[in-house]
C-alpha cells in the first residue's frame, strides 16, 4: 500500500487549473522521481502533498486513509516533509538555529544550544559537508544553504521525504553525497519523491519516473525502462536529440580580456587567465571555490586588485556601471536576488541596465521599451503570457532568458554568465546553450561559470578550474573530460574523489 | 435684547502646567461670559505650535467672529495671520506674548503679564536677599518670551554681586529640569540660589536637591503661580519662600475686557499690563485656586 497517495488531485489558482487530476503515490522504500518542464506543476503537486497548499479537487491518502492536511505543520506531524525548491532559511540565524527552527530542543526553560549545534553539525556531516553550525546562514553560499535546508528537513521524523530540485545548486561531489543519503533513507523504508532536471541523476536514483506536462500526468514508468533521452522526450513532447550546439573553434584569436594575478581578498588569490575573442571559456570548481567572487571582483562588484586588460588596454572597474561601459556584462547566479526585480514588469527589468538607450529628451520612451520587449521575447523565446506581467510570475527558465536578454541590451562584447542553467528544464537548457553559441559566433566572448561539468564540457572551448580561491589549471581539447576536471577541482586522484 | 456676538479665543494647547492653566481659565471664563450674555458665543480653540495656530485663526475666521482673543504660542510667526483677521474688521485682543512690532496695526487691545518683569522681580529678590549669591538658571524653551524673561533677570542683577554660574534649557519640563539640576549639583559644589523661571520645572529641581541631600542651596525661585508652589509659599517652605506671579488667568481678564467692549459700551483699547507680583507668605492666600489644574 502506498505511504502517500494523490487521487485525482487538481489545483487552481483563480479560475486556472495548473494541476489536473493527478494520481500517483509512493511506496515504502521507493524513490519516485517527478520530471517535467519548468512550470509543469511539479512544485505545486509537491506543495499539495506536503500541506503547503490545499487542493481544489481530489484527495490525499496516507497509508490508505483519506486525510485533509491543514498545513505544513500538520504534514510534518504525520511524517511528510518537503525540501523546498527555493531556499527558505532565516539569514540572520545560525545554521543550527535554522536547522531546529520551530522545534528547538529544550533543557528546562532554555533552548539547548549545545545539543542543537552538535545535532546540526552531524546532520550536515551526514550530507558529506562540513559547515560550522554556529555560523550565520546569511554568510553561506547558495550551495551550503541548500545543504542546510536539506539537513533541516531530514531531522524531522519522517515516513515520506519530498525533494524539490535539491541538487540544482550542488556540484557533483555534493550531489553524489546526497544521492547516497537518499539511498540510505530508502533502505530504511522511507518513501521519497524526487524532482530534478538532471536526468542522468534521475536515472541513477529513481525506482519509478512520472512525467508531468501542462499539469497533467502524461507517463509513469519504472526507471529501469527509461533512458535520459526518453525522459526528455516525454517531458518536452518532442525529441531532444542534441543538447549541445555544434561549435567549431577557430585557431588564433586576439585576447579580449586578460586577467593577471587578480585577487579578491578573502575569496580568490592571484588568479590569471585569458579570454579570447569569440571564445566560450568555462569555469569549473567545487562549491566555495571562489569563482563567483572572482567574477564579481572583475566587474567591480567586490573590491579586487590585480592586472586587468580589456582589448589590450589596462582597466579597473570600481562598479558595474564602469564594466558595462567597457562592454562587460555579468549575469548573477542569484537571478531572483540579484538579477531581476521580481515585483516589476518585464519591460522595466529588460531595460534596467541600458536605460540611457531608451531616453527621448528627458523622458523614457515607453513605446520603444515595449518594442524592445517584443523583440527580446521573440529573440530569446521568453514565454510570457502577457507583456505586462511581473518578472516574478515567470517560470525559472524564462526568468533566466529575461536576464540574458536584459544584459544583452547593453550590447556587451564580453559576457560572464554564472550558473546559466541552474534549475532549468532540459528544453530550455538546449535553447540557452544555443543562444550562448550564437553569441560566440557573433564574435562576442563568453565566460560560463557552472557547477555542471557536463554542460561546461558540452559548450566550452576551454575550461579553467579553480580550487579554494586559486586557479589550479586549465583543460581543453581531449583533456576536457570529467575525470580530469574533478582531479583538478579536488586536488585528489579521481579514485579517492569518488 | 442681547446683541449677538461671537468671540473666538485661540490659545496654545496645554503642553505644560502654565498653558494648562490658560486653557482652564479660558474655558471657565467662556462659560461665565456666555451665562452672563445670552447672545454671546465664545469659541475656544487650542493649537500646539505657531503654524497650526495660524491655521486655527483661519478656521475661526471662517466661522465668522466679531472679536479674536489670542494668546500666541510664538508671537512673531503669527503676526501675519493676526493681521489677516484684523484686516477683516475683527476686534483683536492680544494676550501675553507681544511680537517685536506690537502696535495698533496688529491688535486693538493688549493684555499681558510682564515677561521681562517676571525675570526682573526674581532678579531683584535675589539681589535684595542674597546679595552675593551664586545662582544657576534653568530656562524654558528657546523662544522669545524666555529670552525676555532672561533679559529682565539679567538687567535686574546688573552691577550687583549676584553671580550667574550657568544657564541651561529645561524646556519647561519637569523631567528635563530634574536632569539639569542633577548635573548642576554635580558640577558646582556650592549653589546658593536656583532661578528656574517656571513652577513646573521647580518640581524637578526640588526633587534633585532633595535626592542629593545638599544643604547649600538657600532657595529656589520659580514663577507663574501654580497652586502647588503657592501652597508651599503659604506653608512656609524654606526652599520656596516666594513665587513670581504670572497668572494664566490673564487670558480670562482679556476675554472679559473684550466682551465688555461689546456689551458695556466702554471703549477698551490700548495696553493692560498685569504686574509680575511677588507672592510671599503674606499675600499667597489670595492667589490660591485649589481646583485649577495648575
Amino acid at each position: 500500500m502506498p505511504l502517500l497517495e494523490a487521487v485525482g488531485l487538481s489545483k487552481s489558482f483563480g479560475p486556472v487549473e495548473v494541476l489536473k487530476e493527478v494520481s500517483l503515490g509512493v511506496n515504502p522504500g521507493e524513490v519516485h522521481a517527478i520530471i517535467g518542464e519548468n512550470g509543469a506543476g511539479k512544485s505545486t503537486l509537491m506543495k499539495l502533498l506536503s500541506g503547503h497548499l490545499q487542493p481544489t479537487r481530489g484527495e490525499m491518502r496516507i497509508g490508505g486513509e483519506t486525510v485533509a492536511l491543514t498545513g505544513p505543520v500538520d504534514a510534518e506531524r504525520r511524517g511528510i516533509v518537503l525540501v523546498h525548491q527555493e531556499i527558505l532559511l532565516a539569514p540572520d540565524l545560525t545554521v543550527a538555529q535554522n536547522v531546529y527552527l520551530g522545534r528547538e530542543l529544550r533543557k528546562g526553560l532554555t533552548v539547548d544550544d549545545r545539543a542543537m549545534n552538535a545535532g546540526a553539525r552531524q546532520a550536515v556531516r551526514d550530507l558529506g559537508a562540513d559547515i560550522d553550525p554556529q555560523v550565520v546562514v546569511g554568510r553561506l553560499s547558495i550551495a551550503q544553504r541548500q545543504l542546510v535546508q536539506i539537513a533541516r528537513v531530514l531531522l524531522v521524523p519522517h515516513h515520506v521525504v519530498i525533494f524539490d530540485e535539491p541538487t540544482a545548486s550542488l556540484t557533483p561531489i555534493e550531489t553524489e553525497a546526497l544521492l547516497k543519503v537518499i539511498a540510505a533513507i530508502r533502505a530504511k523504508g522511507v518513501g521519497v519523491f524526487y524532482i530534478s532536471h538532471r536526468l542522468p541523476e534521475v536515472k541513477e536514483i529513481a525506482d519509478k519516473v512520472s512525467v508531468l506536462r501542462d499539469g497533467r500526468l502524461v507517463a509513469s514508468h519504472p526507471a529501469s525502462t527509461l533512458e535520459p533521452v526518453d525522459m526528455a522526450r516525454l517531458m518536452v513532447g518532442r525529441d531532444v536529440a542534441k543538447l549541445y550546439p555544434d561549435r567549431h573553434a577557430e585557431a588564433t584569436r586576439e585576447a579580449v580580456l586578460e586577467v593577471e594575478d587578480f585577487s579578491v581578498p578573502g575569496f580568490a588569490q592571484n588568479a590569471s587567465f585569458t579570454l579570447r575573442k569569440g571564445e566560450i571559456l568555462g569555469f569549473a570548481g567545487l562549491v566555495g571555490a571562489g569563482r563567483t567572487e572572482l567574477m564579481e571582483g572583475i566587474v567591480g562588484l567586490r573590491p579586487g586588485r590585480g592586472g586587468l586588460r580589456v582589448n589590450g588596454a589596462a582597466a579597473h572597474f570600481p562598479n558595474v556601471d564602469a564594466s558595462l561601459k567597457a562592454g562587460i556584462a555579468y549575469l548573477s547566479e542569484d537571478r531572483k536576488g540579484k538579477g531581476l526585480l521580481l515585483a516589476e514588469e518585464l519591460s522595466i527589468n529588460l531595460t534596467l541596465a541600458s536605460l540611457h538607450k531608451f531616453q527621448r529628451g528627458l523622458q523614457i520612451d515607453r513605446a520603444r521599451e515595449r518594442a524592445a520587449l517584443n523583440k527580446a521575447i521573440g529573440e530569446f523565446d521568453i514565454r510570457a503570457g502577457r507583456k505586462d506581467m511581473l518578472a516574478g510570475q515567470l517560470s525559472g527558465g524564462n526568468q533566466q532568458k529575461l536576464l540574458l536578454a536584459k544584459m544583452m541590451m547593453t550590447d556587451p562584447g564580453i559576457i560572464i554568465i554564472d550558473e546559466p542553467t541552474r534549475g532549468i528544464d532540459i528544453g530550455t537548457k538546449q535553447q540557452i546553450y544555443k543562444f550562448i553559441a550564437e553569441l560566440a559566433a557573433e564574435g562576442r566572448s563568453i565566460i560560463v561559470v557552472s557547477s555542471e561539468m557536463q554542460e561546461l564540457i558540452g559548450i566550452c572551448d576551454r575550461i579553467v578550474v579553480m580550487r579554494a580561491g586559486h586557479v589550479v589549471g586549465e583543460v581543453s581539447g581531449e583533456h576536457m573530460n570529467e575525470n580530469e576536471i574533478v582531479v583538478l577541482a579536488t586536488g585528489v586522484k579521481s579514485a579517492e574523489a569518488a | 435684547q442681547d446683541k449677538k456676538v461671537t468671540i473666538g479665543v485661540s490659545i496654545p494647547a496645554a503642553d505644560h502646567g502654565w498653558t494648562a492653566g490658560v486653557v482652564y481659565h479660558a474655558e471657565r471664563t467662556a462659560k461665565l461670559l456666555m451665562e452672563e450674555h445670552p447672545g454671546l458665543n465664545v469659541i475656544v480653540k487650542t493649537s500646539p505650535d505657531p503654524a497650526s495656530q495660524a491655521n486655527a485663526l483661519q478656521d475661526l475666521a471662517i466661522q465668522g467672529i466679531d472679536a479674536l482673543v489670542i494668546l500666541p504660542s510664538d508671537p512673531d510667526p503669527l503676526v501675519n495671520a493676526i493681521k489677516e483677521v484684523k484686516d477683516k474688521g475683527t476686534f483683536v485682543t492680544l494676550v501675553d506674548r507681544a511680537p517685536s512690532n506690537n502696535d495698533n496695526s496688529v491688535r486693538d487691545l493688549y493684555v499681558a503679564g510682564n515677561n521681562p518683569a517676571l525675570g526682573a522681580v526674581a532678579g531683584q529678590y535675589i539681589k535684595d536677599n542674597t546679595p552675593d549669591a551664586e545662582v544657576v538658571v534653568i530656562r524654558g524653551l528657546p523662544i522669545p518670551i524666555d529670552q525676555q524673561r532672561q533679559d529682565g533677570f539679567d538687567k535686574a542683577i546688573e552691577g550687583s554681586n549676584v553671580k550667574v554660574l550657568e544657564k541651561q534649557f529645561g524646556n519647561w519640563n519637569r523631567d528635563d529640569a530634574f536632569k539639569v539640576m542633577q548635573d548642576y549639583l554635580t558640577k558646582y559644589p556650592k549653589i546658593d540660589v536656583v532661578w528656574c523661571q517656571d513652577d513646573d520645572m521647580a518640581v524637578g529641581v526640588l526633587q534633585a536637591i532633595e535626592q542629593a541631600k545638599r544643604t547649600d542651596i538657600q532657595y529656589v525661585i520659580a514663577g507663574a503661580g501654580s497652586k502647588d508652589m503657592i501652597k508651599k509659599v503659604m506653608d512656609g517652605d524654606k526652599l520656596i519662600p516666594v513665587d513670581v506671579l504670572y497668572p494664566p488667568a490673564m487670558v480670562g481678564t482679556a476675554m472679559e475686557l473684550t466682551a465688555a467692549g461689546f456689551y458695556d459700551q466702554v471703549p477698551v483699547r490700548g495696553e493692560y499690563i498685569l504686574d509680575a507680583t511677588l507672592i510671599t507668605k503674606d499675600n499667597a492666600e489670595s492667589f490660591y485656586f485649589p481646583d485649577s489644574p495648575f
Binding site: F13, G14, P15, V18, G39, D214, G215, N319, V320, D321, K338, G339, L341, A343, E344, I348, L352, A353, L355, F358, L362, Q363, I364, A384, G385, R386, D388, M389, Q393, L394, K406, T410 | A13, V23, K45, P48, D49, P50, S52, A54, N55, Q58, D59, L60, I62, Q63, D74, D76, P77, L78, V79, N80, A81, E84, P99, L141, P142, I143, P144, Q147
Partner: protein, 334 residues
C-alpha cells in the same frame, strides 16, 4: 497553455489591485469631506477648502520629497528642523541688507534658500550613503544638528523678517493667487507634477524605484546605488527649500520651534498616500492626497464644536489608523 492563462489571471488581478491601492487615499479623502460637511456647514465653503488646501502646502511639498527618499528605501527625519534652519538663514540674509535693491535682494535670497536646501539634503545623503549610517539614525542626528543651529542662530529668540519693502514684495508668494487659485496650491501642484514626472517618466526615477525595490539588483544592473540615494536626499532638500519659500512670507519669522514634528507628518502623508516604507513604490499624487487628509482632519477637529480640545490629538491618532484601515479593506476587497 494553462501556464500562460494562469499567469494572465494573476496579472489582471494584480493590476486591479494596484489601481485600487492608488485610489484608496482619495476614497478616504472623500469620506472625510462628507464627515466634515456634517461637522460644520462652513466646512464645504470654497473659502474653507481653499484655506485647508493652501496650508497643507508645507507638508505636501515636503512629503513629495519624502516620497523619493522613501521610495528609494531611505527615511529623512530631519525635514522639520531643516525647514527651521533654512528659513532662518534666509531671513537672516534678507535682514542683512547685503544688497540694497529689494527685488534683487529677494531674488538672491530665494536662490540662496534653494541652494541651502540642496546642501542640507546633500549632507543627509552623504552621511547615510558614504558613511553607511542607517537613515533613521543619521537623520535623527542631523535633525538635532539643524535644530540646534537654528536655536543658536536665533539666540533662543525669534528671527523675524525686518525689511518692510521685502515683506510687501514677498507677501504674494503665500497670500497671492492666480486666477483665484492661491499661490501655495499652485506650488503644490507644480511640485507634485514635476515630482511625478521625475519619478515615473525619467531614467533617474526608474533607478530610484529599482534601488528601493532591490538594492542588489540595482547594483548588478550598473545603477550607481549610492548616487541615486544621495540625490533623493537632495530632492528632499529642494522640496524643503520650496516649503521654506512659502513659509517665510506666511509667518515672516522663525524660531527654535519652527517645523517641529513636521517630519512625522510628512512621513504619515507619504504612507497614507500608499507608498510603503520598505521602498520600491512611490505615489506622488497619493502623497499629496495624504497631506490633504492630515490637514482636513485638523480642520474638522477645529470646526466641529463637540470635541474637547484635550482629545484632539487622540482623535487625530485614531483617524490616521482608520484611514489606513479604509485603505486596507478597499485593497483587500478587490
Amino acid at each position: 497553455m494553462t501556464d500562460i492563462a494562469a499567469t494572465n489571471e494573476k496579472v489582471r488581478k494584480s493590476w486591479k489591485d494596484i489601481d485600487l491601492r492608488a485610489v484608496a487615499p482619495f476614497v478616504a479623502l472623500a469620506l472625510l469631506l462628507v464627515l466634515g460637511a456634517f461637522a460644520n456647514p462652513n466646512f464645504l465653503s470654497i473659502d474653507n477648502l481653499l484655506n485647508v488646501a493652501t496650508r497643507s502646502a508645507f507638508i505636501a511639498i515636503i512629503a513629495v520629497g519624502a516620497t523619493f527618499v522613501i521610495a528609494a528605501g531611505g527615511l529623512d527625519l530631519s525635514v522639520g528642523s531643516m525647514v527651521a534652519f533654512v528659513a532662518s538663514l534666509a531671513i537672516l540674509f534678507m535682514n542683512s541688507g547685503a544688497i540694497a535693491d529689494s527685488s534683487i535682494m529677494l531674488a538672491t535670497a530665494l536662490g540662496l534658500t534653494i541652494a541651502m536646501g540642496a546642501a542640507c539634503g546633500l549632507a543627509n545623503g552623504l552621511i547615510t550613503t558614504a558613511w553607511r549610517i542607517e537613515p533613521f539614525i543619521a537623520t535623527l542626528g542631523t535633525m538635532g544638528i539643524y535644530r540646534g543651529l537654528t536655536t543658536w542662530l536665533s539666540q533662543g529668540g525669534a528671527i523675524t523678517l525686518r525689511e518692510p519693502e521685502i515683506q510687501t514684495l514677498y507677501r504674494p508668494a503665500y497670500f497671492g493667487s492666480v486666477l483665484g487659485v492661491p499661490v501655495p496650491i499652485i506650488a503644490i501642484l507644480v511640485t507634485a507634477a514635476i515630482g511625478a514626472f521625475v519619478l515615473h517618466r525619467t531614467r533617474y526615477g526608474r533607478h530610484v524605484l529599482a534601488v528601493g525595490s532591490n538594492e542588489d539588483v540595482a547594483r548588478y544592473s550598473g545603477i550607481p546605488v549610492e548616487r541615486v540615494r544621495t540625490i533623493t536626499y537632495i530632492i528632499q532638500g529642494l522640496c524643503v527649500a520650496v516649503a521654506c519659500l512659502l513659509y517665510i512670507p506666511r509667518l515672516g519669522s522663525t524660531s527654535a520651534t519652527t517645523g517641529l514634528m513636521w517630519e512625522l507628518q510628512a512621513i504619515t502623508a507619504v504612507v497614507i498616500g500608499g507608498t510603503a516604507l520598505r521602498g520600491g513604490v512611490g505615489r506622488i499624487w497619493g502623497t499629496v492626497c495624504g497631506a490633504f487628509i492630515l490637514e482636513i482632519v485638523g480642520n474638522i477637529m477645529l470646526l466641529s464644536n463637540f470635541i474637547s480640545e484635550y482629545l484632539i490629538v487622540a482623535i487625530q491618532g485614531a483617524i490616521i489608523i482608520i484611514a489606513m484601515l479604509v485603505q486596507r479593506s478597499l485593497v483587500r476587497k478587490s
